[in-house]
Amino acid sequence: MELVCPAGNLPALKRAVDEGADAVYFGFQNATNARQFAGLNFTDHRAREGIAYAHARGRRVFCAINTYPQPEGWAQWTQAVDDAAALGVDALILADTGLLDYAATRYPDLPRHLSVQGSATSHEALRFYHDRFAIKRAVLPRVLSMTQVRDLARQSPVELEVFAFGSLCIMAEGRCYLSSYLTGESPNTRGVCSPASHVRWETTPEGLESRLGGVLIDRYAEGERAGYPTLCKGRFEVDGETYHAIEEPTSLNTLDLLPELHALGISAVKIEGRQRSPAYVATVAGIWRQALDRLEKAPERFHPEPAWQANLSELSEGATTTLGAYERRWK
């Protein structure tokens, strides 16, 4: 199984490669990818340096161009595809069918991966992308249970990559417009979710308050650990009760599922977090490298080290992790 790690900048890319990532993924400094953060991502020049660094060590580099271009942005998105091809990336990670069509026509020999933003959750959907655009791999949305992943793996016409660790999207990716409803900017159109430019923190008599687009997302009592106001992880009132009505602040961690994912023939595990620091990426990549190496040697005897789990939990949102939808109970 391949370990695919996030590269939000050149130092993170190098650390991921040093710690044993088989592949890294990056995006350009604009809305063409789903992690458009200020100060993050790659210029052409930095991308060239990063690709050379990874290739010199026998690792692969994928370029994420996984947002949805609108007519006024079409030229910028196709330019991103052209630039990535010219840089010599090993694969493009795409979601929009128009852009997939463009890439498949212009660069038939450059492998195409279907982004999680493409929202393919069945083998019939995968077949659509495979038949029309000859995708080589698909990243699965984080909404499927293990049983469903198993069914899919059995019938998939393409390689599958699954999310292994990091922030947990609990909505089917690529089909969540909650962020733009509150801010006007969404993952699909701007490559952002709950963007920082629309966040406001305020100390009030009721406690520390976080707002997104003016809407109160959460309110913290003194001493309570405050988290970033991702809108689906706030505390809201439903039918007279205030609670995490959609999801708690928590991260996905599938270390326990590795033997099963391995047995299903999953091709790659993906670490989320291009917005995270190089130190974070290095730690997570290192732990997952050790885990995959041990898995490779004796899959039937694999057990995650308690120290790995403890370190991963410490790095997680809310310091807790979940198996998410992979486990039926979560639903």
Partner: protein, 302 residues
Amino acid sequence: MLELTLGPVAFYWTRDRYADFYAQAGEWPIETVYLGETVCSRRRDMKLDDWRDIARSLTERGKRVVLSSQTLIESEADLRGLRKVCDNGDFMVEANDHSAVRLLADAGVPFVAGPAINLYNAAALGVMAKAGMQRWVMPVEMARDALANLLTARDAAGLDAPCEVFAYGHLPLAWSARCFTARRHGLPKDRCQFVCQQYPEGLPLCAQDAPDEVFTLNGIQTLSGACQDLRHEVPEMQRMGVAAARLSPRAEGMSEVVAAFDRARRGELAERDPLALTEVGCDGYWHGQAGMKRTALQATPT
């Protein structure tokens, strides 16, 4: 003239409620009705044959009927249900997922691409047209100006692909593996006791400090808290070359909503009553802003 369509019911109603609703809808000035369960496979009160019965009676009253497919397809059972809808043989299908697009394209059956298919540019429209798409519903978050550009690009590409705009109702904003209504009741999703049937217009989710609904929980689906209302934009839609306006069913008052849109497309809609502004729906997306914004209120001096 702009066509009016009735979108699929997002909520889980009782059989009687669906029957009453569509009996009335048969009398409304709408041309097309979308039928079917688009949210959750566990909502099984209505079988495909029940929808077909309603479809036939609406057809007899001169309506065009389209069967809408489930949006989030997760299991083999979901796919079996989807195949039945796609193979129905009589009615056109609204594909709300690429699984449906694949099945319909393979069978050579023309289809409508639903709002969650994510068609934001002319190249994507071209891909779908080649697959057999006859009509598409604009992504709900798209702005008027972007849509105008897209319609121009579509025409320049010589594509025959009429556009339908989600013009009225709670906006469908997200789908999850988790059921939020069951979660509110402390029930696991696979033993949910069908609690969403208790909420014919969903379960309101509010911020801690304000009574306004932020979102509406509807099983695994999250809808907008406010109802989008683009009735005053109908003349603009007609000028732009939008083919149809979709009205998404609510539990109450749909007949008045349909009547207002019918007046709007005839150019007979009265100006906004400045005293009734608290009742206006949201229209931010259309104006390139956050979807929840009510631009009519912004224009009013406070």
